[in-house]
């Protein structure tokens, strides 16, 4: 495919790159760049935070609290994911249209159920959590459902896509043999997609851990809760202890999911009591343990969610959002709209700045982070510093992506003045690690022959990068940038919660002042942004291909 790139295609990519750069520069102009961006005491505060990083609090009491909170975080994530899988399975099958016969009803069910999946995943889990807490109170189920809904939405969409992409021949054969629709689903479709579905679910599970950690922001327990408490008391050493717990948890889950995925994609049959069965056993234990803990340990009852009292509060709450019995709902007020739209613009700028920053940092670091460059396979050059550099940058990546944006924002807000810059920085800090990792994998997968040619012709490292690596990987780099931008867009509202500017900051204030119609207005603006981001990113991605 890479042998002959049509010149038109090349131009398109070039124009797109310039366009994206221009948008990034435009977003930068929204900030007055001078030393005033820091607080007067921002630098000393930063030093205190770094001091805590070097010397985290290792008192046995704190360590024990950390262990317990890590378990709560894990249990919520596991319980949330198990519900998400059920939801994704049911709605995903319906959205794929495999169960419907006529073309018309297939079309309707596709549009309808894909719409549901799209809506549920477009809202960030923390917003769901807050809605659930307001409607059903501070129950662990608020956190679990808040996780299950957006994750179910993502999984369901992927599942539906997978079902639609299965090779048609086996299905036709089954149908010809007289199997019913349900039989075709269970014996035809499912066996064909399960491996991919499991590996994607495992990948998402790692994200769910981080999401579960930030659920505490609305008052639900876990590692995020402890981080928040420690930050409120400005105990940076304890903050880092809990952050390290979170990082450890993410790394463990990452390693497990990597292991499972390897087992699935290699398609090597493992004899006897192999890794597959171990994983199933472990997963089962986790799911059972988590639900037992939540229902018995935390004494949370699913049944209570549907109590008459909760229904009444939920009704009152959603009535409030819709502005029932309100004299002047904010979403019908022109002045409120003007203000909210200004914030929407700010939020958009924040997201672009964030993806710009993460792109720059990932760009600088990605070369040494690729395995095939570290071991010298690609460039045919070995240097003693290759492996240490590789290790260091990969560690940095893991560190950066294990800490949720919200936690980064909570710390950065002590250093920078409230506004969109700290928000953008927090988002960038979290995302550059993800971007870097994805890019490094692209470089690892590329065809080494052109690069080796360049290297033997005596090209320097920088020349190799710009003339060899970059032209080959650029399309996929761009795809990932756009994809991450979509994700960042959904998260901008969350970093705003802690004072990092944009829609989120006003959202938090409206929550504190019980100004429900204002909340509706801000949510509307947020949905518009997410839709724009999805649309823009999808069309651009298609153009790149």
């Amino acid at each position: 495919m890479m042998k002959r790139i049509p010149s038109l295609q090349l131009h398109k990519r070039f124009i797109l790159t310039v366009l994206l750069l221009a948008v990034f520069v435009w977003s930068l102009t929204s900030i007055h760049w001078n030393s005033e961006l820091f607080h007067a005491g921002g630098i000393p505060t930063m030093l205190q935070i770094v001091e805590g990083l070097i010397q985290p609090n290792v008192e046995p009491r704190i360590l024990l609290v950390g262990l317990e909170s890590a378990w709560i975080t894990l249990a919520y994530a596991v319980a949330g994911m198990s519900l998400a899988i059920i939801y994704a399975f049911i709605v995903g099958v319906l959205a794929s249209g495999t169960l419907t016969s006529s073309n018309f009803s297939r079309f309707i069910s596709k549009v309808f159920f894909r719409g549901i999946l799209g809506f549920t995943r477009s809202i960030h889990e923390l917003i769901w959590a807050w809605l659930f807490v307001a409607a059903v109170g501070l129950s662990p189920y608020a956190a679990i459902l808040a996780l299950a809904i957006p994750y179910g939405g993502i999984l369901g969409r992927i599942f539906a896509d997978m079902l639609n992409d299965v090779p048609k021949e086996p299905i036709i054969a089954l149908k010809a043999a007289g199997s019913s629709r349900l039989q075709t689903l269970f014996y035809g479709y499912l066996p064909l997609v399960w491996a991919d579905f499991i590996s994607y679910t495992m990948y998402r599970f790692e994200c769910a851990i981080r999401s579960s950690a930030i659920m505490s922001f609305v008052g639900l327990g876990g590692l995020g809760f402890q981080i928040q408490l420690a930050l409120a008391d400005l105990k940076y050493d304890a903050v880092w202890t809990f952050v390290f717990y979170l990082i450890a948890l993410v790394i463990l889950v990452d390693a497990w999911s990597h292991w499972v995925r390897m087992g699935l994609t290699n398609h090597k049959r493992i004899k006897g009591f192999g890794s597959g069965w171990m994983s199933v056993l472990f997963a089962t234990l986790l799911v059972v343990g988590s639900w037992i803990y939540i229902t018995i340990g935390e004494n949370a009852r699913l049944f209570e969610l549907l109590s008459e009292k909760n229904m009444e509060y939920a009704k009152k709450f959603f009535g409030g959002l819709l502005g029932i019995n309100q004299e002047n709902p904010a979403f019908l007020d022109a002045e409120s709209w003007a203000l909210a739209l200004r914030l929407t613009m700010e939020t958009l700028e924040m997201s672009i700045m964030a993806i710009g920053f993460s792109t720059i940092v990932a760009f600088i670091t990605v070369i040494p982070a690729a395995r095939n460059i570290a071991n010298g396979n690609l460039t045919l050059k070995k240097r003693w510093y290759n492996w240490p550099m590789f290790g260091l940058i990969r560690l940095l990546y893991i560190f950066s992506r294990s800490v949720p944006e919200l936690v980064w924002a909570m710390m950065i807000i002590f250093i920078f003045k409230p506004g969109i810059l700290p928000g953008a920085l927090a988002l960038a800090l979290h995302n550059f690690g993800i971007l870097g990792k994805l890019w490094a994998e692209v470089i690892e997968d590329m065809d080494p022959r052109p690069i080796r040619n360049l290297a033997t012709a005596g090209a320097s490292k920088i020349e190799i990068f710009f003339y060899g690596v970059l032209p080959i990987v650029l399309p996929r780099f761009l795809t990932y940038i756009l994809y991450r931008w979509e994700v960042i867009m959904r998260t901008t509202i969350v970093v705003g919660f802690v004072g990092a500017g944009g829609l989120g900051m006003d959202f938090k204030l409206a929550m504190s002042y019980f100004d429900y119609t204002q909340i509706t207005l801000l949510l509307l603006c947020y949905m518009i942004l997410v839709l724009i981001a999805d649309f823009a990113s999808e069309t651009t991605r298609k153009a790149v291909k």
């Binding site: 607080h39 807490v133 307001a134 491996a195 008052g219 008391d233 089962t284 229902t295 504190s512």
Partner: protein, 302 residues
């Protein structure tokens, strides 16, 4: 290989369903039990998280213990992460008695019509906020705050946000535009003075009672931080009791709780330390009309 995938899905399905099933049985049983013995219900108290979490826990646990001994009810302190969460809990009737600030008590009473502010400290009838700055910052009056960086406490705090904002506005300073950047919301009074002390912000406003306690206990370095303005008096903190208390705990429960609160701190050092007071007095809803008016003026209550 195929088998074990089906295994995972089946296990997850079966066990999550089983888990749900179990709970349902349990809840129905417990519900029936609840109907028979109403007094078994736990009386839940809450407090706005305006100070160091550990300190708050100690103080409120002591209140819960004393309340429980004097009223015979089972009393439990429920911590919450932010002011709004506590107000929501109160609205839902899950918190029966709460230590609110002036603004949050007004918010809570607006949401729960029958709720009543019953007890306060003598100092809450003449509460003040202090404006603090770093030594040598050159700030001596409210007017000097123009162009400086500034932090409030929680956005729902009376002494850390509402009244300081009000007195700033009276002085002709618009907190949204006149500071260097937007004002910060630190979340709690303890955090506010720490942020000024560390130099993160040039000035801030907080609760006078928390400030005095911090000075007395040496938690803040007065060589680095100084008070440059103290506000006039206003009504602040109070114990607000929920409207559902008599229904859930019996007719005399409200009076018993009130009597017990009025008898505090007794000889409890934890309560004395936390509330910084040696006695409690009665209060009434009308005392907070001024707070409500100010909050409406500043568009914090609509």
């Amino acid at each position: 290989m195929k088998k074990w995938l089906t295994g995972i899905i089946l296990f997850m399905l079966v066990f999550s369903l089983a888990a749900c099933g179990q709970t349902e049985d349990k809840t129905t049983e417990e519900k029936e039990a609840n109907k028979e013995t109403k007094t078994e219900e736990v009386f839940k108290i809450g407090a706005i998280p305006d100070q160091n979490a550990a300190f708050l826990q100690t103080g409120m646990d002591a209140v819960a213990k004393q309340l429980s001994e004097e009223t015979g009810m089972k009393v439990e302190f429920v911590p919450s992460v932010d002011y709004a969460a506590l107000v929501t809990g109160f609205q839902r009737g899950e918190i029966h008695l709460a230590w609110f600030g002036g603004l949050t008590s007004v918010q809570a009473r607006n949401l729960v019509p029958g709720a009543e502010s019953i007890v306060q400290r003598p100092r809450d009838a003449e509460f003040k906020s202090v404006f603090i700055t770093q030594e040598g910052s050159g700030i001596t009056t409210l007017a000097d705050l123009k162009g400086k960086s500034f932090t409030f406490g929680s956005e729902s705090s009376t002494s850390g946000h509402l009244m300081p904002r009000y007195f700033l506005t009276e002085e002709g300073i618009d907190p949204n535009t006149d500071f260097n950047g937007k004002p910060n919301f630190s979340g709690s009074h303890d955090t506010t003075y720490k942020l000024i002390e560390s130099g993160s912000f040039q000035a801030g406003a907080l609760n006078i009672s928390v400030w005095e306690a911090a000075v007395k206990e040496g938690k803040v370095d007065t060589n680095k931080v100084k008070v440059f303005y103290t506000t006039p008096d206003y009504y602040d903190y109070n114990w607000t009791i929920n409207s559902n208390v008599e229904e859930v705990f019996g007719k005399d429960a409200k009076q018993k709780v009130k009597d017990s609160l009025l008898s505090m701190p007794g000889d409890s050092k934890e309560i004395t330390d936390f509330f910084q007071t040696d006695k409690f007095i009665e209060t009434k809803n009308d005392n907070y009309e001024k707070i409500e008016k100010v909050a409406k003026e500043l568009e914090i209550i609509k």
